[in-house]
Symmetry: C2
Subunit: 361 residues, 2 copies
């Protein structure tokens, strides 16, 4: 069978095209094949391809030609081939490809997924990731990222709006009854002195790190949260906070936040996410050992955390190896990797959580 | 026993000091304690502390005072306490602390390690990491990084000059006999057509990814290496390389590198490390799935790679979570994490490898 290369398409005369079956191309008078479809049919011996009025192309020339017309051709074709070889029906579509449920043919059932194809060298804005989720919801599809690495191996990722498993609600009221704890600011952490309050906050609500002497070392984010809820009182230092005020009124929340912002940029983004997660009844601890901001437990008696949460500015742009690293690490410790960001929604800011996981197709 | 706070030291009169034993302070007329030593002795009830001519301090005021005098006090003290509680002899020293072998006392044996203390919020230039290794070699100590996270947990890392286990030498001669392979450049990868050469390069030397049709997909770094060794010939494209030259002379190495540099910044740093590792007889593949540049096998029949190698510019500055993430990931997949960089040494550039691993003390 003969195809003719025409810009970014390969055209096959319709009477012949029918024997290719329903899986290929779109009919527009002739059958119009995408470059990937044409390459696959060429490589599997089903068609030959010539340039307009010219001699037949060999496979090498066709592939070279295709990658010059479309710089993404090579990675798209690698993914297309992989999916075909796994027995899936695939069709070029709006977001690179449509993927049909295993065994289904285009036309019989709607596509289940759409696939966005990336090369290891691409960059992916967080906003583009989010736009894929919005599109998926509108189109009732599930979005997949297919990343082709420099050695032409493919990693598939599923994208989801993060859903947190229902969490036991923390006993907020009980917490409050305990009264206000007095604490000392030590540079970038806070030391709480009352042994009973310390033990209670730690054992019931997993705040801080309890020392042998039953003092509680709190992180800045925990301290801010407890201050906001009127549970913690931090004495003002003569220095470095406000040299002019030498009275001992405790810091108020805004003063504390001002100080923290001076030693940790983007603190408010991180704090906003912490507060939101605590508000959902989740237990939130630092994710430092896993290179993320937080690790999250969904129940009190849980031994291992379920989620790693990394907070990003809305304008963040992922390098693909950065994404790979974060998801691989979470996967290796049996947690879900979730990227959180504060999104402007009119006057408001809402916190969004995107769950990215490895996927076996 | 009474100590007197004096700037960054606490002084104890000598006759009294003797009962503290050899583990604390330096004698300079009086016994001079560091803030961490003093805090530890205060907290464990061995001394009291007053300010010059003034009233006694309570522990909270002393800690607050110490952290205002020395912003690193809190993290230093957290590490000091942890080491003391683990039964080690520790002494403040040039690089934060000296650490003695377990059971040994200062004076009896020389210190085995020195410890550099970092907070999760610090930044660590690659050059500073390297300087620690140089210092360690000169002083015959082993360097340790102690990182205190925001919840006051400590992670200890050992630093080493990377030593690669002796590798089987690849059969370079055999490789060469095969002659020059013809290949096509497809945007950001290279396709090699000769089935015998493809299979040979892949099976014997682990180059590229072999397709079902026995074609070999090579990465750019592999292609550059094979070109340099005269084993690969890539036809020049009309576009996008050089529109004016329409003859079909193959690309030379420099032309190929120019092209690759246009799509991948820092390619030469990465290539330099690849060449160096291959030159050591190691098998080098992409580390993309682990978020690093390379994974390295030391023997041909090895199922899992032994090292992850990430190439950095000499001027790189680590954030501490970034370091934590990389080492945690490597550890989780039972590999060593190695950071490679090209270092200027006079006119020359040498490639240096720094091995950073988690350490149980």
């Amino acid at each position: 069978m003969q195809g003719e290369l025409s810009d970014e398409k390969v055209m096959v005369a319709e009477p012949e095209a029918d024997i290719l079956g329903k899986g290929y191309g779109r009919k527009k008078g002739k059958l119009e094949l995408s470059l990937e479809e044409a390459a696959f049919l060429f490589e599997t011996g089903k068609i030959e391809i010539k340039e307009k009025e010219e001699k037949k192309l060999n496979l090498g020339d066709f592939l070279k030609h295709a990658s010059q017309i479309s710089p993404k051709f090579a990675v798209r074709y690698i993914v297309y081939r992989d999916l075909k070889e796994r027995g899936y029906a695939v069709q070029p579509g709006r977001v690179d490809f449509w993927l049909y449920p295993r065994g289904a043919k285009p036309g019989e059932k709607p596509a289940k997924y759409f696939i966005r194809i990336l090369s290891e060298r691409d960059f992916l804005p967080l906003k583009a990731l989010d736009a894929l989720l919005v599109l998926a919801r509108n189109m009732r599809k599930e979005p997949i990222l297919a990343v082709v690495d420099e050695e032409s191996d493919i990693t598939y990722y599923e994208l989801k709006e993060a859903k947190f498993e229902s969490a036991e609600q923390m006993k907020e009221e009980e917490e409050r009854k305990e009264g206000k704890a007095k604490a000392t600011l030590l540079s970038d952490r806070v030391l709480l002195w009352d042994a009973d309050l310390a033990e209670n906050l730690h054992r019931n609500n997993f705040y801080g790190k309890l020392t042998k002497e039953k003092r509680l070392l709190l992180s800045l984010v925990e301290s801010a949260y407890l201050m906001k809820r009127d549970m913690l009182e931090i004495a003002k230092n003569a220095e470095p906070l406000k040299p002019q005020t030498s009275n001992l009124k405790p810091l108020n929340f805004e003063q504390f936040i001002d100080y923290v912002n001076s030693i940790e940029s983007d603190f408010m983004d991180k704090y906003g996410v912490y507060e939101d997660l605590r508000g959902k009844g989740l237990t939130v601890k630092t994710g430092f050992k896993f290179g993320s901001h937080f690790r999250v437990y969904t129940a009190r008696q849980q031994k291992h955390s379920s989620y790693l949460i990394h907070v990003l500015p809305e304008e963040h742009v992922f390098s693909i190896p950065e994404l790979s690293r974060a998801v691989r690490l979470a996967h290796g410790v049996k947690k879900r990797m979730i990227f959180a960001f504060r999104q402007k929604a009119g006057e408001e800011r809402v916190i969004r959580y995107i769950d990215v996981g490895r996927m076996k197709l």
